[in-house]
Amino acid sequence: MTMLIQDAKLAANIFDAPAQAATRDGFGKGLVEAGDADVRIVALSADLTESTRVEEFKKKFPERFVEVGVAEQNMATVAAGMANYGKLPFITSYAAFSPGRNWEQIRTTIALNDVPVIVCGMHAGVSVGPDGATHQMLEDVALMRAMPNMIVISPCDSEEGRKATLAAAKLGKPVYLRFGREKTPVMTTAETQFEIGKANLLYGGDTSECAIFATGALVYNALLAAKQLESEGVMVSVTNIHTIKPLDRETIVREAKRAGSVVTVEEHQIHGGLGSAIAEVLAEEAPTPIEFIGVRDMYGQSGEPKELIEHYGMGVSHIIAAVKKAAARK
């Protein structure tokens, strides 16, 4: 018996043998569905059509697919012009290049200009694996979160990636969608609620001693940690913060107050990411001891995704240790 929240309608096999799929796969599906629903949607690719999962959209809507070549700055600015005209462009590349390479173009011509371009950054985090540090984007949330007018979403699994893509298409605002390369557990189902700006409580109850706020595929590690802790008699809550901006302040403050200690979990630098965002809210509204799980001012390196997650301190054991440390600081 675990404290999984029934309302979250998570996959029945979540702790046994959950399906495995990359969040970028969910994006590919969502993009085709969004394209079916709205003829204004166009997809731009910078020579990475297959690995960004735009391939299916390209096949189904060739006249709405635009290849810009290896030119991420051009992709952002061409999309700004298209959105200014009235299209809904999705721009796709690896997060290291977009928004890594084209941040100023996104700032000026998309966010300040306030035109609805959806920036889709694939291969975020160290879990890209063998490609190494150049391709392991760990600063994108900080970059995009600091930008007024920009919505920032980091889906926890493939199904949520699909829903986030559909929701972004309907928003009419600049959006950053963050996706991973690797196959990761599919925790949510078609019935799981997804609303931009509304955090999903997945695990816990009134006796929680620590509130875990997690984003991206590491939500699964947070759930594994919660289950392990529960077997040791330590109750925690786990909230999936899929929307990093705007933050669901109400849920975060409520869970933090209820538990009295907090652990944040993200595959990103601890500077400027989810942990920083939550610390900003809690410092103002409910000062609470916080431990941060994330990369600590280092670049990644080549390796297998799982060993990199462990090496950089984002494994289940690290989350468990952080919970104990945070709870002890109450």
Binding site: V66, V68, G69, N74, T77, V78, M82, N84, Y85, N113
Partner: protein, 302 residues
């Protein structure tokens, strides 16, 4: 291959493909002089801003807003309007002044340039002032935006034209060439780029700072049709815009050779006037010079 529909003149601002009368040329030249005077007045009031570029582009902006562009100052969001994307946002005083003279807003509002609460931001913002089309300032991003706009409009079979005014200095930005490559690949014949070839940038002359030539050859190699004009010869510039609209297979670049600071001898060709405004005393002299030169400038092409 997509072919553009013939342009149909539909407003009082459009007299495409018709020979300019001497009276019309004189009207435009006087308008340009009035716009230059407004530019000087607004820069003095602002106490900061760029002088040389706006003065140098006054003739071209006059030709655009008073002859070339299909637009309606009382309905800036008119769906069928031609779009003018300003890439080098720092010369926005010339756009503001020209828009005011064209009737978008009162000329007096120009004096709020760069002031707190003004719609006339130091660099233009789409959300602030209807009609400026896009937000710009950081250089090198306008040609790509205009290309994306033109591409999207063509997808829907729209017949308005997209213009992009850009500087020569921003040809040093890589993003400009990415845009040029894109427009060339997709043969965006509904796009006309206008380069203000005034040879100056903040630190000096372009060919000393980072040489740009041969610009014509470069754009032709990127798949563009290139026309070169005297950027102060209004009939010649208008004729180039007409020719650009007749080119069906390629985007067109109008390489407009201009004199930075044109119209005021103390400013002309001096790169030190790129980024500073005149003092009140200087402005009085400059305004007097513009007013006394009006008749003479107008007679040059007669």
């Amino acid at each position: 291959m997509w072919k553009r529909e013939p342009v149909v003149s539909s407003t009082r601002y459009t007299v495409l493909m018709e020979a300019l009368t001497d009276a019309e040329v004189k009207r435009l030249e006087n308008k340009a002089s009035a716009i230059r005077q407004t530019i000087i007045e607004m820069l003095v009031a602002a106490g900061s801003g760029h002088t040389a570029g706006p003065l140098g582009m006054a003739d071209i902006f006059t030709a655009l807003y008073f002859h070339v562009l299909k637009h309606d100052p009382h309905n800036p969001a008119w769906e069928e309007r031609d779009r003018l994307i300003l890439s080098n946002g720092h010369i926005t005083p010339v756009r503001y002044a020209t828009m005011a003279h064209a009737g978008y807003f009162p000329v007096e509002e120009c004096l709020t340039l760069r002031k707190f609460g003004s719609r006339l931001q130091g660099h233009p913002e789409r959300d602030k002032l209807p009609g400026v089309e896009t937000t710009s300032g950081p250089l090198g991003s306008g040609l790509s935006q205009a290309s994306g706009y033109a591409y999207a409009a063509r997808m829907d079979g729209r017949t308005f034209r997209v213009f992009c005014a850009m500087s020569d200095g921003e040809q040093q930005e890589g993003n400009t060439w990415e845009g040029a490559m894109f427009a060339g690949k997709y043969r965006l014949s509904n796009l006309t780029a206008i380069m203000d070839r005034n040879n100056i940038q903040i630190d000096g002359m372009t060919e000393d700072i980072m040489p740009l030539e041969p610009l014509r050859d470069k754009y032709e190699a990127f798949g563009w049709h290139v026309l070169e004009v005297d950027g102060h010869n209004i009939p010649q510039f208008i004729q180039a815009c007409d020719e650009a609209s007749a080119i069906a297979e390629k985007p067109t670049l109008i390489l407009a050779h201009t004199i930075p600071g044109k119209g005021i001898r103390a400013i002309e060709r001096d790169y030190r006037w790129h980024g500073k405004p005149p003092s009140k005393e200087e402005a009085a002299l400059f305004l007097n010079e513009l007013r006394t030169m009006e008749g003479k400038v107008a007679s040059e092409h007669q």
